[in-house]
C-alpha cells in the first residue's frame, strides 16, 4: 500500500525491466519511478550576503540573452530578410533553436562559420564569400548583418568588408544586384547589452539604412518590440478599428506564425514580414510609436531627429491605463476619433474586471520579464487590485524603474524592484515572501513549482506550452485574455471547487 502510494502508480526501474510484456503504447520515463538523490544530505541556506547580484561576480539563471538574438528577431520580421551572423556557428544555431522552441516555426539565419583561422586572420574572407553564397542561392531582399562577441573582439571592420563585398558582387552579378538586395549592419557585441538592446539597435540600424523622407503618407509607424505575433495582430486590429493605416517595423506576425499550405516556395520563405518599401516610407509617416521603450526607442528617436517624425515612446499598451494612453495618442496624432467598437472592447475588459475582483484583490504577485513587459504587467496587476510585491527585469533599464515607481505611488505600495538582476535573486525573494501568483516566462516554471506559487506565463520566452505566440496580451482584448488566465489560474490553485460553483 505505502509503496504504491509513494510510487503513485509508477514502476521502479527494476519492475519496469522485469515486466513480462511491454504494451503497444510503450513505457515512457514519466511512468517510471526514479528515486531522486539529493546532492547533499540537507538544505543549507545560501550565504545571504551574496544573494544580491550587486554583491556577486557571476549571474545565476540570467533573465536575458545575448544582444545578437534581438537583432536576429528584428531581421526575421522583415519580408525575405535573412540575418547573416558574423561569428561562430553556435551564435546562429542556438538562436535558431530558441526561435523554433518559442514560435514552432522554421527560421532561416545564415552564419559566417568562424573557425580558428578566422579568429587569427579576421572574418573578411568568410564574410565576402558567405554573403555571395547566401545571395546566389536564397535571393534575399534584405540581409541583416549581425555582429557578435567574437567579430567585435577581433575588430572586424564590417563597413569596410561590406564595401569590398559590394565590389565583388557587382563584378559577378552587375550593378542590378543592389536593386535586388539591401544590406543593414547591426553591431551587437553581447558583452555590452542584452537581446532587448539588440532589437533596439536593429530598429535604429534598419531605419538609418533604409528610411527616406518623401511625400507625407498619413501612416503611423509601429515598432512593437519583442512581443508575440498575436500581439502584433491585435495592434493591427486596433488600427483597423480606428481606420488608421499603420506600418509595423519587424512584423513577425507574418513570418513566425505561418499557415501550413502546400506547395511551399523553395527555399522556404514565409509570405509576410515588413516590406522594404514600407521601411523606406517610414521617414514620411505621421509619427512613430515604439511600444516598448527599451526595444525600439532608438529607432523612433532616429526618425524624429532625422525626419521630424514625432516619436511616441512606450509604455507597452497592456492593461487599461497603458492601452488608454496608446489609443489616445493614436487619436491625437491622426485626428481619428476613438470609435465605439474600441470603447466597447474597453467596456468588455472592464466588465470582466468587475466580475472577478474578489478573486484578484490582495493577491501578492511576483513579476519577472523584459523591462517593458514587466512594468506593464505590474501596472495591470495593480489595476486588478493585486499587489506586485517583487518585480524584476533581466535587462537593466532606467525607464523600468521609473514606470514601476509611478505605478507604486499611484497604487500606494512599495515593491522590491530588481533592475537588471538575475532570476536567482528574484527567486530568493519569492521564497522569503508570501507570494500567491507568479507572472513570468517558462524560465520561471521551476521556481513556481518549488515555491508552490502558480505561474501565469507572460513575456519572453514561452516554450513549454503551446499557443502563446498566437495570443495577444496587448490592447483591451489582450487584457481580457490575460485577465482570464490570471483568474482561472487562481481559481485552479487557490480556491476550493465548491466556492467557485456559483
Amino acid at each position: 500500500m505505502t509503496t504504491s502510494l509513494k510510487l503513485n502508480g509508477r514502476l521502479t526501474i527494476e519492475e519496469l525491466n522485469a515486466l513480462p510484456e511491454i504494451p503497444i503504447e510503450g513505457i515512457t520515463y514519466d511512468q517510471m519511478y526514479i528515486e531522486k538523490e539529493p546532492i547533499c544530505p540537507e538544505y543549507q541556506a545560501p550565504d545571504q550576503d551574496i544573494i544580491p547580484l550587486s554583491n556577486r561576480s557571476f549571474v545565476m539563471d540570467p533573465g536575458r540573452i545575448c544582444m545578437p538574438f534581438g537583432a536576429m528577431w528584428a531581421g526575421v520580421g522583415v519580408h525575405k530578410c535573412i540575418p547573416f551572423v558574423q561569428g561562430a556557428q553556435g551564435c546562429t544555431t542556438y538562436p535558431r533553436y530558441t526561435f523554433c522552441r518559442i514560435f514552432r516555426e522554421p527560421v532561416s539565419i545564415a552564419t559566417a562559420s568562424f573557425h580558428e583561422e578566422t579568429a587569427v586572420f579576421g572574418g573578411r574572407k568568410n564574410f565576402i564569400e558567405g554573403l555571395r553564397n547566401l545571395i546566389i542561392r536564397y535571393h534575399p531582399e534584405v540581409i541583416a548583418i549581425v555582429t557578435v562577441c567574437s567579430s567585435e573582439i577581433i575588430g572586424d571592420d564590417m563597413e569596410g568588408f561590406l564595401e569590398e563585398a559590394r565590389d565583388s558582387l557587382e563584378e559577378e552579378f552587375g550593378p542590378k544586384i543592389f536593386d535586388e538586395v539591401k544590406f543593414v549592419i547591426i553591431h551587437t557585441p553581447s558583452f555590452v547589452g542584452s537581446h532587448v538592446e539588440g532589437y533596439n539597435r536593429a530598429a535604429a540600424a534598419f531605419l538609418k539604412t533604409l528610411a527616406k523622407r518623401s511625400t507625407p503618407n498619413n501612416k503611423v509607424n509601429i515598432i512593437p518590440g519583442m512581443i508575440t505575433p498575436g500581439d502584433i495582430r491585435e495592434i493591427k486590429h486596433i488600427l483597423k478599428l480606428m481606420d488608421i493605416e499603420g506600418a509595423i517595423l519587424f512584423d513577425i506576425s507574418g513570418t513566425l506564425d505561418c499557415p501550413l499550405r502546400l506547395p511551399q516556395s523553395m527555399p522556404y520563405y514565409p509570405k509576410g514580414g515588413t516590406r522594404v518599401e514600407e521601411i523606406v516610407d517610414m521617414g514620411s509617416s505621421l509619427a512613430t510609436f515604439a511600444l516598448c521603450h527599451d526595444a525600439g526607442e532608438a529607432g523612433a528617436t532616429y526618425l524624429e531627429k532625422r525626419f521630424r517624425v514625432p516619436a511616441m515612446i512606450g509604455p507597452m499598451p497592456l492593461g487599461i491605463r497603458y492601452t488608454d494612453s496608446f489609443i489616445k495618442n493614436l487619436s491625437e496624432i491622426t485626428g481619428k476619433p476613438i470609435t465605439d467598437e474600441i470603447k466597447d472592447e474597453r467596456g468588455i475588459l472592464i466588465d470582466a474586471m468587475a466580475d472577478t475582483f474578489h478573486y484578484t484583490m490582495g493577491v501578492r504577485v511576483a513579476i519577472y520579464g523584459d523591462p517593458d513587459i514587466a512594468a506593464a504587467a505590474a501596472r495591470f496587476s495593480c489595476e486588478l487590485g493585486m499587489l506586485p510585491a517583487i518585480i524584476g527585469s533581466g535587462t537593466e533599464s532606467k525607464q523600468f524603474v521609473k514606470d514601476i515607481w509611478e505605478t507604486a505611488h499611484e497604487y500606494d505600495f512599495e515593491p522590491v524592484i530588481l533592475n537588471g538582476s538575475d532570476m536567482f535573486e528574484w527567486e530568493e525573494h519569492i521564497k522569503k515572501n508570501k507570494i500567491d501568483l507568479i507572472l513570468g516566462s517558462s524560465k520561471a516554471v521551476n521556481i513556481s513549482k518549488e515555491a508552490n506559487a502558480p505561474l501565469v506565463r507572460i513575456g519572453f520566452p514561452i516554450y513549454d506550452r503551446v499557443g502563446y505566440q498566437r495570443r495577444a496580451y496587448v490592447g483591451y482584448r489582450g487584457g481580457e485574455y490575460l485577465l482570464d488566465l490570471i483568474v482561472n489560474t487562481l481559481l485552479e490553485s487557490k480556491f476550493p471547487d465548491d466556492r467557485v460553483h456559483q
Partner: protein
C-alpha cells in the same frame, strides 16, 4: 566515387564545392563523402559550435558539479535546460524541498563578461565567481569551468584560476577549453572535452590517489558505459541489461553521473562505448594509458542490442555470462515482440530520412530495417570518415548521404525523396513540417527512452504516430473547396 549526375542537388549548382559532401552508400566499396572539413560560409548550415559539443553534449550531463561558463550571459542561457540529458541528482530548493529539475539542468551560471572584462581580462572575475558560486550552491562535488569565444579570445588563463580555486575549496576544479570558433563543428568540442578530461583526471588521480578505486574494491566484471548522456532516461533500460548480464557498472560517462565516479574511469575492466563519435577519443586514451580496452556497441534496436550483450559477454569470456546473454536476448525479444510486430506491420515499406549529428545515422539503419522501413537518405552534421564507413556497412546500397547538410539541401531532399517520415532535430522539425513531412525529434526524443529492447517500443510508437497522424491527410488535401 563522385556522386552521379542525376543525384546532384539543384540547390548546390552555385556552390559546387558541396558535391564532394554527397555520396551513395555502398556496402562493398564504401563511398565516403568529404567530412569534418570547414563549412562553406553562408550556406545555411545546421552545424553548431565547439561549446555545444563541449558542454552541451558531454559536460552538461554531469550530475553533481557546479558548472561555471566563462562568457557573457547569452551562451549559458542557450544551454540552460534545453537538451533533455536527465539525472537523478537534485539540489535543494528549500528545507525539505528538492528542486523541480535535476541539478545539471536547474541552474545556469555565467561570469557575465562585460566590456571592461573584455578589455582588462576576466580572470579575477572568474576566480571570484567560482568561489562565490561555491558558497551559493552547497553540496557540489567540484567545479567545471567552460570557456567560450569571448573568454578564448581575451586569452584568460583559466587553468591558473582553477588551481587557485581548487586549493581554496578542496575539491577538483577542471577546465574545459573549447571556444565556439575552434574546429569546424560541435565535434571538436567533444574531442577537446575528452582529451582535457583525460589529462585532468590523470593528474588529479596522481595527486590524490585516495580517489582511485582500491584493488580490493575492484571486481572482475567492472564496466563503464562510455558515451551515453541519458537522454529521456535511456539509462533506465541500458543499465539493467548489463547488470543482468553480471557486470557491475562503475560509472556512465557522462549521463547524470557523480564526479566521484567519473574519476574512476581508468579503474574499470572494460569500456562499453556507445557514442562512438563523441567518446572514442577518451576510450582510445584509456586503452593506451591505462590498458582499459573498449568495445563498440549500438544500443538501439533489437539485433544491435543483442550483439552488444554478446560482445560484452564474449569479451569477458565467461561461459556463464555468454549463456546469460542468450537468455536475456530471448527473454527481451519475447517481451517486446507483440508491440514491435504491430508497428512493423504498420510501418513496412514506409520511407524514412535520417538526419542526426553523426552516429545515430548508422545506429538507426538497422533499427529502421527491423521496422520494415526503407531509409532513403541519411545526413550527418559533424560525422567523420569512420561514421560514414559504418553507415556504408549498415545501410542498404544506394542511400543518399549528405555531410553537414544545409537548410536548402534538406528541403530539396524532402521534395526529391519524398520520405514518409524524417528523423531529425528541433531546428529542422518545423521546416520539414511546413513541407508536410512528419518528424521525430532524434536528439532529445519525443517520448523516450528509445534505447535497447524495451525502449525500441517507444521509438516505434513515436514513428508510427508521426506517420499516421491524421493531420497529414489534410495537408495534402488541396481540393477541399
Amino acid at each position: 566515387m563522385a556522386i552521379p549526375e542525376e543525384y546532384k542537388l539543384k540547390c548546390d549548382f552555385t556552390i559546387p564545392e558541396r558535391y564532394k559532401h554527397h555520396a551513395l552508400s555502398n556496402g562493398k566499396e564504401p563511398n565516403i563523402p568529404a567530412s569534418n572539413i570547414k563549412t562553406i560560409p553562408g550556406d545555411m548550415t545546421e552545424r553548431g559550435c565547439a561549446f555545444a559539443g563541449n558542454r552541451g553534449v558531454i559536460g552538461g550531463p554531469i550530475g553533481d558539479c557546479l558548472q561555471v561558463v566563462h562568457s557573457p550571459a547569452g551562451c549559458v542561457w542557450y544551454q540552460w535546460g534545453t537538451r533533455r540529458n536527465l539525472s537523478a541528482i537534485y539540489s535543494w530548493a528549500g528545507p525539505g524541498v528538492l528542486c523541480n529539475d535535476s541539478h545539471n539542468r536547474r541552474h545556469a551560471i555565467s561570469t557575465d563578461l562585460l566590456e571592461k572584462d573584455v578589455v582588462f581580462g576576466g580572470m579575477e572575475k572568474l576566480e571570484k565567481a567560482c568561489l562565490e558560486a561555491w558558497r551559493l550552491v552547497p553540496g557540489a562535488a567540484g567545479i567545471l569551468i567552460f570557456t567560450t569565444c569571448t573568454s578564448g579570445l581575451i586569452g584568460d588563463d583559466c587553468h591558473a584560476v582553477a588551481r587557485r580555486v581548487e586549493k581554496e575549496i578542496g575539491k577538483p576544479v577542471f577546465v574545459f577549453d573549447a571556444p565556439g570558433f575552434c574546429g569546424v563543428s560541435q565535434s571538436i568540442g567533444h574531442h577537446h572535452f575528452n582529451n582535457q578530461f583525460y589529462e585532468q583526471i590523470t593528474e588529479y588521480r596522481e595527486k590524490h590517489p585516495e580517489v582511485c578505486m582500491k584493488e580490493e574494491e575492484k571486481g572482475p566484471y567492472d564496466i563503464a558505459i562510455v558515451g551515453d548522456f541519458n537522454m529521456d532516461w535511456d539509462l533506465a533500460f541500458i543499465k539493467p541489461l548489463f547488470e543482468k548480464l553480471g557486470c557491475r557498472i562503475i560509472l556512465v560517462f557522462t549521463g547524470g553521473e557523480h564526479f566521484e565516479n567519473l574519476i574512476k574511469l581508468p579503474d574499470v575492466k572494460l569500456n562499453v562505448l556507445h557514442c562512438q563519435r563523441s567518446c572514442t577519443y577518451i576510450s582510445k586514451l584509456l586503452s593506451q594509458g591505462f590498458d582499459v580496452p573498449y568495445v563498440n556497441v549500438s544500443l538501439f534496436g533489437l539485433e544491435q542490442t543483442a550483439e552488444a550483450l554478446r560482445e560484452v559477454a564474449g569479451f569477458f569470456g565467461s561461459e556463464d555470462m555468454k549463456q546469460k546473454a542468450e537468455q536475456i536476448i530471448e527473454q527481451e525479444l519475447k517481451v517486446v515482440s507483440p508491440a514491435i510486430d504491430f508497428y512493423r506491420e504498420k510501418l513496412s515499406g514506409k520511407r524514412v530520412g535520417i538526419y542526426v549529428g553523426g552516429p545515430r545515422v548508422w545506429h538507426w539503419q538497422r533499427v529502421m530495417q527491423e521496422l520494415g522501413m526503407k531509409v532513403v537518405f541519411g545526413m550527418c552534421t559533424f560525422a567523420h570518415n569512420d561514421d560514414y564507413e559504418k553507415i556504408n556497412a549498415r545501410a542498404e546500397d544506394g542511400v543518399f548521404l549528405v555531410d553537414a547538410p544545409n537548410e536548402f539541401e534538406i528541403e530539396e531532399c524532402l521534395e526529391r525523396f519524398k520520405p514518409d517520415l524524417f528523423l531529425t532535430g528541433l531546428k529542422e522539425k518545423y521546416l520539414c513540417r511546413k513541407f508536410g513531412v512528419p518528424t521525430v525529434n532524434s536528439h532529445s526524443y519525443e517520448k523516450g527512452p528509445y534505447a535497447c529492447f524495451r525502449g525500441m517500443v517507444n521509438f516505434a510508437r513515436d514513428i508510427y504516430q508521426g506517420v499516421y497522424a491524421p493531420v497529414w491527410k489534410f495537408v495534402r488535401d488541396n481540393d477541399f473547396i
